[in-house]
Amino acid sequence: MESVVDLALLGLLAVTAFGVLHLRNLVAVVMLMGIYSFLSAALFVVLDAVDVAFTEVAVGAGVSTILALGTLALVGTRQKRHAKSPLIPLLIVLVTGGMLVYGTYDLPRWGEPDNPVHGHVAPEYLADHVPLAGDEGDVLEVHIPNIVTTVLASYRGYDTLGETTVVFAAMVGVLTLFVGSRRQRRTGGPPADDEGGSGAS
């Protein structure tokens, strides 16, 4: 039954993607992208990646829909027809996809216990973290009860700090853009009523 649900979700995902490609009404495309986000979130839950699923719904279906609609308010909602033939892009995509699929043949088999990724540092992290049956508590190195938090906040702390810095810088940039446009509107220039959705507050 689970595989039936998986296949149905994947099929709907493919239908959505083709709808996004086919439709010329961009509002409909934005709505379909919201549906796409919901479907991929459901698939992430099936794959046990619950945190990724949550991010997908909050960002993909929530914020990006609003941002895309804000963009459409500025640029109009009809897509222009392309004059060029789509054959060469299709060829490039097919060749790239084929090469990627070919590349997967060199990967180690999925889920094997003696894959390289399981023999590197993961056992140490787990051993540091989970108290073994004999020892009582003293083996803990980090003292954080959750293994994911341990890896993110301690073993990969600098990595996480870098990510947070990048996100912070991006947010400051976006807020600067919004504040600039608002001030410009107040002090002069053409009175633009429904321009520039202020999507951040």
Binding site: M1, L12, T16, A42
Partner: protein, 97 residues
Amino acid sequence: MMVVGASIAVLVTMAMAMARALLGPTVYDRVLAVNMFGTKTVLTIALIGFFTGRPEFLDLALAYGLLNFIGTIAVLKFFQFGSLGASGPHPGETESG
């Protein structure tokens, strides 16, 4: 058995909502289809939780329900005012984000 029936029903409803989102003549059909689809996602996650024996994903499903609601409100507000409240009649209102 119940879970199987419920899953099939939800998947069929998803397909129908998808059809409305693809065909829908007006914008509101599509908005409603997306809202419907979000609800069906919530139900799908609940059902997946039950047939994998991990119903603790239900709180995730609840959070999806809330997000879906806020998102729909934001989209509809957008269609009414053309932006998210800056030019609306209530300038002090906050928006989703």
